[in-house]
Symmetry: none
Subunit: 160 residues, 2 copies
Amino acid sequence: KPYSKTTPFQGNKPDKLTHLHFYFHDIISGDKPTTIRVAEAPGTNSSATVFGAVLIVDAPVTEGPELSSKEVGRAQGLYASTDMKTFGFTMVFNFVFTEGEFNGSTAALYGRNPILLEERELPIIGGTGDFRFARGYALPKTYKVVNIDAVVEYNVFIWH
Amino acid sequence: KPYSKTTPFQGNKPDKLTHLHFYFHDIISGDKPTTIRVAEAPGTNSSATVFGAVLIVDAPVTEGPELSSKEVGRAQGLYASTDMKTFGFTMVFNFVFTEGEFNGSTAALYGRNPILLEERELPIIGGTGDFRFARGYALPKTYKVVNIDAVVEYNVFIWH
């Protein structure tokens, strides 16, 4: 059986825009962190922007801003501090939805997140399930920062 | 000369669906591993899901399930264990095709792989050569596991 076969595309082309609104809890401190550092360079800790730090994340995504509010999914992936002058993180994440209409679907986030800016934008570059063939954009906005932990409000728009 | 120039898009828009079927050999043990660990957190080895492990892979992609079967390309990239509760790997890969119709083209895989599930889906977020402007989805299915080494059957559908 040849390992490849090409036919005319008959799948459904993206024609809907879904707006998702949720909160992402990035907890580095304490005994139940969502985020842990897995790699760094010798100079990372003396860098003003922790340049070179690579962190892995499995964080709750909730409906409301409180950690106790209803969990609608997880944000799983990694981010790295990749800007020498400001906090600009390269983010490689998947939003894994576990509630509601998009339970079982994921959205792939991939981009640069200048976290000190009020409004930021990162690309949604794909997805699975209902978000197959998807593209879109995510608008993260810092909702609350306590020391090094943050709650980030996400408005995500997915063309699928 | 300005570094940018914009003109109406006249490239060919994705209109074909190519189905690729192959086997990916993820070998961690032994003296000829395809996969090596490059980073981890202090708690990774005591985590039930090896949370925080980052591995780099250059693995053969073959037509049949045996490692000795015809190689049609390589799977190169990295995956990280990014789920605290189950084995959910964030995968950042490129399939580099070296045989057949798509020799010289690559397909970019990027998503979350819950490897213990029978059926999984990851997005194909782009590609090069024949797969330029491509999008699609990959359906990995574990074919065989021997200790920590695995053969994974991939059915990949690319809209290009």
